[in-house]
């Protein structure tokens, strides 16, 4: 079950992209810290070795830095006005307060005082404006660029105040801001250096090998609980596991090789942590074309596949079944696994009602890296039981992007969707899977324009239920997020939402 190199490519692209997202300032979500409990004495000058498969392309998250740059620098080196906690809550960070005008169109943010950039300059509202504009800029490659189309103007009445005016209401605005790094407006060479406000500053980046961060002595907040963090990059899951086994690294941010877990589970020197990821494996139908434009057919296919067995064979006892697009860390999560249960008899009945009593045949476009080929083979044998003949067409991520994503030239495909709060794509009939339900589109729009998070949550729950009833896609399972660490380590993040990896709370005894 080893992942190949192509995962960081497309996976990375998806990670940083699939989030239009809606916000809840702490509303609905379970809350609480999800860091592993740290206690006892620890070494304040420790160096923490972090093993990862995701090396940054460069250090600029609006210049094509990719997933790795978020993992290493987000929250550690750069901070936003708000922070998305490991539990999915949005908290104040560089903003101490924000006010929304009665019409919901003007946001006034008050900045924290005494915040210094690593270069020594004091943070002002001009830096915030610069940073938001950088994401919105014409040449920005930020995947979140489109979330900021709603911004009409940014004003800086004084050094501690930023006033943003929107063209339409957007309850996700504050959540979206948690992804905007506040950068010194005078900073240069952001692709190879940095100037953030975080608890660490960049020590050294050796391309192809490692990136190290050291504690920033002038940090405004609680200093990091360790002196230095070194991200070691590997291309291969086996090499990564070997590094952990030989103490070359202390923690692996995301274990991608389920077969390798046993060697850590059976070893008292390591702890295998099961977190909640936001990565969903989808069997996405092209809802525009026959036979998948028929709800009954989609329901039948969904009921004919034993997702539990599939998850078990890929991930063993890890991972979660979800009956819809929403993972448990999203505020509008509901358990919908019963909507289209695994039931072969039901599937046959639904197929007959849809006029396909004898089944049909379709081509499944399958990305060439794990777990997609495995899942495709499994689906083929499951669907054979109800008379559906699956032709597996293995394609590269590049082909997938052109054929499926851009040209919508497919019947059904497999894909992993990485981000949190990405149910909103079902409100967009032009998205690649072509789910078109006017009611759902309206609900998604209304949710974004909600006055309260409770209202937003209620609407998105409706969306969630509706797409499950329509079997808009088959949500095969939610990936586990497995962090493996030495037992000397505590305080590391467990869920790693959207590839974040806050390292400043890690303690080593």
């Amino acid at each position: 079950m080893k992942r190949t190199k192509s995962v960081p490519l497309l996976g990375g692209a998806l990670v940083v992209s699939l989030s239009l997202a809606l916000t809840a300032c702490g509303g609905g979500s379970g809350g609480g810290t999800s860091s592993s409990g740290g206690s006892g004495s620890y070494d304040k000058d420790a160096t923490i070795g972090v093993g990862s498969l995701y090396e940054p392309q460069n250090l600029d998250n609006t210049g094509g830095g990719g997933q790795g740059v978020t993992e290493a620098l987000n929250g550690n080196v750069y901070e936003g006005l708000f922070k998305l906690t490991d539990a999915g809550k949005v908290e104040n960070l560089l903003a101490t307060d924000h006010k929304v005008s009665p019409d919901g169109l003007t946001y006034t943010f008050t900045l924290r005082k005494g915040v210094k950039f690593h270069s020594g300059k004091t943070l002002t509202s001009a830096d915030v404006k610069y940073s938001i504009d950088k994401v919105r800029a014409k040449d920005s490659q930020s995947a979140r660029k489109s979330s900021f189309d709603v911004v009409k103007s940014i004003e800086t009445p004084d050094a501690d105040t930023v006033k943003v005016t929107l063209s339409s209401k957007s309850i996700s605005f504050v959540y979206n801001l948690s992804y905007v790094w506040i950068i010194n407006a005078d900073a240069k060479n952001l692709k190879t250096s940095e100037d953030g406000t975080g608890p660490y500053k960049l020590d050294k980046w050796t391309r192809g090998s490692a990136l190290s961060l050291v504690r920033f002595p002038g940090y405004w907040g609680t200093p990091a609980t360790n002196e230095k963090v070194v991200f070691h990059y590997y291309k291969d899951a086996t090499a990564l596991n070997n590094a952990l086994l030989t103490n070359a690294v202390d923690v692996v941010t995301s274990e991608q090789s389920p077969d390798a877990l046993d060697q850590f589970k059976n070893n008292s020197n390591y702890k295998v942590n099961d977190g909640n990821s936001t990565t969903k494996l989808l069997l996405a139908f092209n809802d525009r074309v026959k036979p998948f434009n028929n709800v009954q057919v989609r329901k039948a296919v969904t009921s004919a596949i034993d997702n539990k067995k599939l998850l078990q064979s890929v991930w063993g006892d890890h991972g979660t079944l979800i009956g819809s697009m929403v993972p448990p860390t999203d505020p509008w999560y509901e358990d919908l696994t019963k909507v289209n249960p695994y039931d072969v008899a039901l599937a046959k009945k639904e197929l007959a009602e849809a006029g396909y009593a004898k089944g049909f045949s379709f081509t499944l476009d399958t990305p060439n890296y794990d777990p997609h080929p495995t899942a495709a083979t499994f689906i083929k044998s499951e669907l054979a039981k109800v008379g559906i003949d699956v032709k597996i067409n293995v394609i590269t991520p590049d082909e997938w992007y052109t054929k499926v994503y851009k040209n919508h030239d497919f019947s059904a495909t497999l894909q992993e969707h990485v981000n949190d709060r990405d149910i909103v794509w079902y409100g967009n009939p032009d998205f690649y899977w072509g789910y078109d339900n006017k009611q759902v589109t309206e609900w998604v729009k209304q949710a974004e324009e909600s006055d309260t998070t409770a209202q937003q949550t209620a609407l998105l729950k409706k969306v969630n239920t509706k797409i499950a009833e329509d079997a808009a896609s088959d949500w095969l399972y939610l990936y586990p997020q497995i962090v493996v660490a030495g037992t000397k380590l505590s305080g590391y993040p467990l869920n790693g939402l959207n590839s974040q990896f806050y390292a400043y709370g890690i303690k080593k005894s």
């Binding site: 190199k5 192509s6 490519l9 692209a13 998806l14 940083v16 992209s17 699939l18 392309q57 460069n58 210049g63 094509g64 014409k138 040449d139 490659q141 995947a143 489109s146 692709k191 190879t192 050294k204 050796t206 391309r207 192809g208 090998s209 490692a210 190290s212 070194v230 070691h232 590997y234 291309k235 291969d236 086996t238 090499a239 990564l240 070997n242 590094a243 086994l245 030989t246 070359a248 590269t396 590049d398 082909e399 992007y401 052109t402 994503y405």
Partner: protein, 321 residues
């Protein structure tokens, strides 16, 4: 000798130019759009067009080629499509891993293979000789990554005496650490390389041992050792050196496997990633530098053969005796 060197230099330049043309065209024949790897799901057509424009893949081929040639003559390998950082400095830093790895493995392989191969030839018909032949045959059949994994399992995971992979972040600032992390990869490559070298050395030595000149020398009263030293080694060395050149070049190009197994930030792993990302400037840059290295190795191996065997000198300098 001077005219020979000049000829070789012209030949080298010509080969490099040809290589640059072939590299450029081959890469453009690959399926897939490099702009795709730069974009995320959700990108608008405008963003795609902007990405194409930024990397210049929207310009006509001749223009792109002229640009690439211009870069080459100005010793600039351009910027990566994906990271937008310059390719040249990164290649230099990767060479700091790949070149020591290759050379150390090569030296180790020669030090092992020459005496062992020679001994195997001297005792060709004994059990020892058969054993060496068998083991070297096995060594040729075994894939590099498998040897690497076995060594990791034994020396890193079980015994814990050497690192399983990786390279110090500070590179060669602390040479001891760097050498330590190269130990297992060097042994891996050297093992596989020496297996084939042993066979070449053995057959070259057998040739010499059965040669007329050696018999003549012995008949004229020379001792075996003296005869070997005076005539045998020189004659045996010529074919061995040409094989050494080929082996060295192969190892340099084959570094990708061992670099992946040992998570080394070398040229090979750089190439593998760039190919997957359609990062043309990086692929072009790495292959160009590798081509250059292979041509230089070929040149040096020719030169070495000429220095050893006077009969070759006239031939290689253009047939004038």
């Amino acid at each position: 000798m001077l005219s020979y060197l000049l000829r070789r230099l012209v030949f080298l330049a010509g080969s490099l130019f040809l290589a640059s043309v072939v590299l450029f065209l081959l890469l453009r024949l690959l399926p897939g759009d490099p702009a795709n790897s730069l974009l995320s799901v959700g990108a608008t057509p405008e963003q795609v067009a902007a990405a194409r424009h930024a990397i210049g893949s929207d310009r006509p081929l001749p223009e792109q080629f002229a640009h690439w040639l211009h870069q080459l003559v100005t010793f600039d390998l351009g910027n990566s499509f994906v990271s937008t950082l310059p390719v040249g400095p990164e290649i230099t830093s990767r060479l700091n891993v790949t070149v020591p790895l290759t050379l150390l493995a090569f030296l180790l392989a020669v030090v092992v293979a020459v005496p062992v191969g020679y001994a195997a030839a001297l005792r060709a018909n004994t059990r020892f000789g058969t054993l060496i032949s068998g083991v070297s045959q096995l060594g040729i059949a075994v894939p590099v990554f498998w040897v690497g994994m076995i060594l990791i399992t034994v020396f890193a995971l079980r015994l814990g005496v050497l690192p399983a992979g990786g390279f110090p972040q500070d590179g060669w600032e602390r040479p001891g650490e760097a050498l330590n992390s190269l130990a297992l990869p060097v042994i891996t490559v050297a093992l596989v390389m020496s297996a084939s070298l042993i066979r070449y050395v053995r057959s070259a030595a057998l040739d010499v041992l059965g040669s007329d000149y050696l018999r003549t020398a012995r008949a004229l009263g020379s001792s075996f050792t003296r005869a070997m030293w005076r005539h045998g080694l020189r004659n045996g060395a010529v074919p061995v050196i040409s094989v050494l050149g080929i082996e060295l070049a192969t190892t340099l190009l084959g570094a990708v496997v061992v670099e992946t197994v040992f998570a080394l930030p070398g040229l090979g792993s750089m190439l593998a990633q760039a190919v997957a990302q359609h990062d043309y400037p990086v692929v072009q840059g790495v292959l160009f530098v590798s081509t250059f290295a292979v041509l230089v190795i070929g040149f040096l191996s020719d030169l070495a053969q000429r220095l050893i065997d006077p009969r070759l000198r006239g031939r290689l300098s253009g047939g004038t005796r």
